[in-house]
Symmetry: C2
Subunit: 141 residues, 2 copies
Amino acid sequence: MKLTSKGRYAVMALVDLARFNNINPVSLRDISLRQGISLDYLEQIFSKLKKNEIVKSIRGTQGGYVLNKNPNDIKLTNIFHAVDEKVKTVQCKKESKRGCNGKATKCITHNLWDELEIHINTFFENKSLNDLLNNNKETRV
Amino acid sequence: MKLTSKGRYAVMALVDLARFNNINPVSLRDISLRQGISLDYLEQIFSKLKKNEIVKSIRGTQGGYVLNKNPNDIKLTNIFHAVDEKVKTVQCKKESKRGCNGKATKCITHNLWDELEIHINTFFENKSLNDLLNNNKETRV
DNA sequence: CTAAACTTGACCATTTTAGTCAGGTATGTA
DNA sequence: TACATACCTGACTAAAATGGTCAAGTTTAG
């Protein structure tokens, strides 16, 4: 069980973006340099963030990206959802007719995984981009 | 971010085992049939569970596996640890000298991933095999 | 009109996952 | 003692996911 780097990068990039958000659009090139993330990969990620209306793009010279919402209203759960980072514990949910493992009933640990998903998602829903900004200010050396 | 099936199977198999534990050793063959998990794969998993002293094996005809501890003392965290299912959010911890992404400092979201790991691990530490047994009894159809 | 920056989609090497396969070894029972 | 049952071990592998790169655009400020 691990987080993919797509999700990690998305959050890192958005925190970076949020820091400079008030002044100017931020170019992916800058984020790439500051955060050490490949430019091409960032483009894939921001394409998804834009589709999900988390950021807006401004084209042309001096263009870049800006947040499309208040940092307080951007929850981690929104970010992860945008880049297809989902908390998935059970496969069994797919086949709605049959239970898990092709049996007629739910697998004996089904409830557990449901609980776990809720537990993790709760964490993501309560954490906003703004929380991260503050947390980072406090603890930065 | 998802759970691997090795971890899921380990928990499923142990719940199955715990149900019949008081009477006789349970053969992997039976678990395989009841839970729809490949026998060969189960053997890999139980080899690890045994190394971690979660189960004991009894060889020969009528042999099988039994729990090595009270179901109350087997926490999910023990099971996952045994089968190498770990909650991993940050890569950055590996290179202790340098920070994340080869930079000198911690990445700006480092604290977040630490918090998340703790959040998830807490869940696993508080859940025992016994909890699962009871939970399953209540909700089974 | 040109350089900076966004946009899109195809492509790919590596790693992980989720097993299978092919051999064993130990032991209770007939 | 034979043999069936069940554990034991390690090598192997197909398929999927990951973590990107590459190429070829389009848009717009200056």
